[in-house]
């Protein structure tokens, strides 16, 4: 063995600390501030379950060892059931570092190692928390195993033994203002759902006398006086402002100090305020990029450029919501130039082949439109149940118009083209996506459509490509048959 067998650093028990213990901390703070410790004693069952996590982590730390030799990485774990995971070095695609605040305090690094197995369901993802010297040694050993690897993500590394260091290449430093703007303009839906969840949990933790003081009754009275339409509109406005503010703060914490280094062979990305992350992705391993624009971003003519590469983004570490951002905020008119610089295969951008006018009707056959129609029908019925819902049809009509607008936008946005170097797809309603995938990374092409739609020469096109999770299938609706026939000619057989 060149390294180990050795246990990781004890700091690994603090992984996901705030995620696991955030609620307990809030409960503790609320109890201390209010001087009422009953809150903790009443929820002792929940506390026991939450506090099991560190016990399990300690057991995991005590029973897990890591070893590396010339051929493989060997991880042995388990208390009652012993598990041995053997990862051949030649299959490893990425070895990256991250440091959360506790790692920074202890001076340790977390090595995130994965191979292509995490494209499919069976993830072979290894996290090792090691002292600085051990992390460097393991990384060096893993890099020495790169012989025979096809375009390993280590290809771009110059100093094989050091931790993240200064390298030569084109360097892009993203301004903090751009990071804040990204948080402001990003779609708020997912965030608002998380916010609702958090509010519901926190409300449950708050002392009951807050609700008994009459504040809630007065609030409900006010809402009842307003009627449904203004109440909903004000709620949307408040949520939007709250979402924007929280989005800005969240983006600042997560993406502070965003740096991109392009050294020709690989792209290195660094970011994070509390949890500093470093990713090195060999260009050979990049399947493509996608440019994402929320409705607000489309108005501001900016967007987020994301990478499609195994080992970066969602699923690349414990945080499933991690996004594979390459440029946090990129102007529309810079897109072609930046993509061409980083991935020369994407230079020859062409005009999209768009849906024909006869395909417009198919964009309205969506669940969201039928749902909006049902809401409108319901809004006529609701005033009979309660006067509060008088005028609710206005909201129903607005919602239907919003959904119909999304259908028209989807028609205007949809498009695709392909050539020998890359395929590109454009789709979305208010939120627009432009995807660029290397032709060499495309695995399958599929046309889907009802018999009637096919008779009219209209079909949905699904592309399967070598990319992580949800990005592995790209779908563009209602394109002409000629586009499908042209794309399939460019597939590499």
């Amino acid at each position: 063995m060149k390294f180990g067998p050795q246990k990781g650093h004890v700091a690994c028990i603090f992984d996901n600390f705030f995620k696991d213990f955030g609620l307990v901390l809030i409960a503790l703070i609320v109890s201390l501030v209010s001087g009422d410790m009953d809150l903790l004693s009443e929820n002792v069952g929940v506390l026991v379950i939450v506090l099991l996590a560190p016990v399990l982590r300690v057991v995991g730390w005590l029973t897990t060892t890591y070893a590396v030799d010339e051929e493989k990485l060997l991880i042995k774990s388990g208390l009652f059931t012993r598990n041995e995971l053997e990862v051949p070095l030649s299959t490893i695609t990425t070895v990256d570092f991250s440091q959360n605040i506790f790692h920074q305090i202890f001076g340790v690094y977390k090595l995130n190692i994965d191979n292509n197995a995490n494209i499919a369901d069976g993830q072979t993802k290894v996290h090792m928390t090691l002292k600085k010297d051990d992390a460097a040694a393991v990384r060096s050993l893993l890099m020495k195993g790169r012989q025979g690897m096809d375009g390993s993500n280590f290809a771009a590394e110059q100093d094989e033994t050091s931790l993240p260091h200064r390298e030569e290449g084109t360097r892009y430093q993203v301004e903090t203002s751009d990071v804040l703007l990204m948080g402001l303009l990003k779609s708020k839906l997912l965030f608002l759902l998380e916010l609702f969840g958090a509010i519901a949990v926190i409300a449950n933790l708050l002392p009951a006398d807050i609700f008994e003081s009459g504040i809630m009754d007065r609030l409900i009275e006010k809402i009842a006086e307003m009627g449904a339409t203004p109440a909903v509109l004000i709620t949307i406005a408040v949520l939007f402002v709250t979402g924007s503010l929280c989005g800005m703060i969240g983006s600042f914490i997560r993406y502070y100090g965003f740096k991109i280094l392009d050294n020709g062979e690989a792209v290195k990305i660094e970011y994070g305020l509390l949890n500093r992350k470093t990713y090195t992705i060999a260009k050979k391993k990049i399947s493509g990029v996608f440019y994402e624009q929320s409705a607000l971003m489309r108005i501001a003519k900016v967007g987020i450029l994301n990478l499609m590469a195994v080992g970066y983004g969602a699923g690349s570490d414990e945080d499933a919501s991690e996004e594979a951002i390459l440029f946090p905020l990129l102007k529309e008119n810079q897109l072609t130039e930046v993509i061409g610089k980083i991935l020369p295969e994407m230079q020859a951008v062409e005009a999209y082949q768009k849906p024909e006018p006869k395909a417009l009707r198919y964009f309205f056959i969506r669940f969201s439109v039928f749902f909006a129609l049902a809401v409108l029908a319901g809004s006529f019925f609701l005033p009979k149940v309660d006067d509060f819902f008088q005028g609710a049809w206005v909201l129903g009509a607005l919602f239907l118009m919003y959904r119909l607008g999304a259908c028209v936008m989807a028609y205007l946005t949809a498009g695709a083209y392909g050539n020998l170097q890359h395929f590109s797809f454009c789709y979305g309603g208010y939120k627009k996506m432009r995807v660029f995938v290397k032709t060499s990374m495309i695995e399958s092409i599929e046309s889907v459509g009802s018999r009637w739609k096919r008779k009219r020469g209209v079909m949905d096109i699904n592309i399967g490509c070598l990319a992580p999770g949800g990005e592995a299938t790209q779908i563009v609706d209602n394109l002409p048959e000629s586009t499908f026939n042209e794309l399939k000619e460019y597939l590499i057989y």
């Binding site: 292509n116 494209i119 499919a120 695995e443 399958s444 092409i445 599929e446 046309s447 889907v448 459509g449 009802s450 018999r451 096919r454 699904n462 399967g464 490509c465 070598l466 990319a467 592995a472 299938t473 399939k488 597939l491 590499i492 057989y493």
Partner: protein
């Protein structure tokens, strides 16, 4: 491009699985009819909804398998596999042989009874199936795909 058809016995296979699906809805619906006193708007909606699903399953059992059979087809040449299938929505999938990660030939309980097999073609981004094949055809497809894959990989210098 002329598609190859599946073994006709697959119609019986699809019918059997649709009978099982129908039974899953019909048994609780009949039990509700016999043992429960259906009262109230919500229960009535659920009750008649279950009967509607049963009627749909029965129609599906009678009419869908022959339609599905008519639309199912596959085509394999030196460089690609093309699969066409669907009932209301017909999909045509083109898979370059060089992209295949692994090939699995398998048989479920209904297919075992009918002597049918399915060939599963796995890619990194998902998998595709050719169903309703007799053993000889399934083995031949598996072998030929494997040989073509190695041949193409060799030609591209990837082996």
């Amino acid at each position: 491009m002329e598609y190859k058809k599946l073994d006709k016995k697959i119609i019986d296979g699809w019918r059997t699985s649709r009978v099982i699906r129908l039974a899953c809805f019909l048994i609780p619906t009949l039990a509700a009819t016999i043992f429960i006193d259906i009262d109230g708007l919500v229960w009535n909606i659920i009750y008649y909804g279950l009967w509607a699903i049963c009627a749909y399953c029965l129609l599906g059992l009678i009419f869908y398998p022959p339609i599905e059979y008519r639309q199912w087809g596959y085509y394999i040449d030196e460089e690609k596999v093309v699969i066409r299938h669907g009932l209301f929505f017909i999909s045509q999938t083109i898979i370059p042989i060089i992209r295949i990660q692994n090939i699995t030939i398998s048989q479920g309980p209904i297919n075992r009874h009918l002597g049918l097999y399915k060939v599963e073609i796995a890619l990194a981004s998902g998998s595709h199936e050719i169903v309703g094949l007799d053993q000889e055809t399934a083995d031949a497809i598996g072998e030929s795909l494997r040989a073509k894959l190695y041949h193409r990989m060799e030609a591209k210098g990837e082996l």
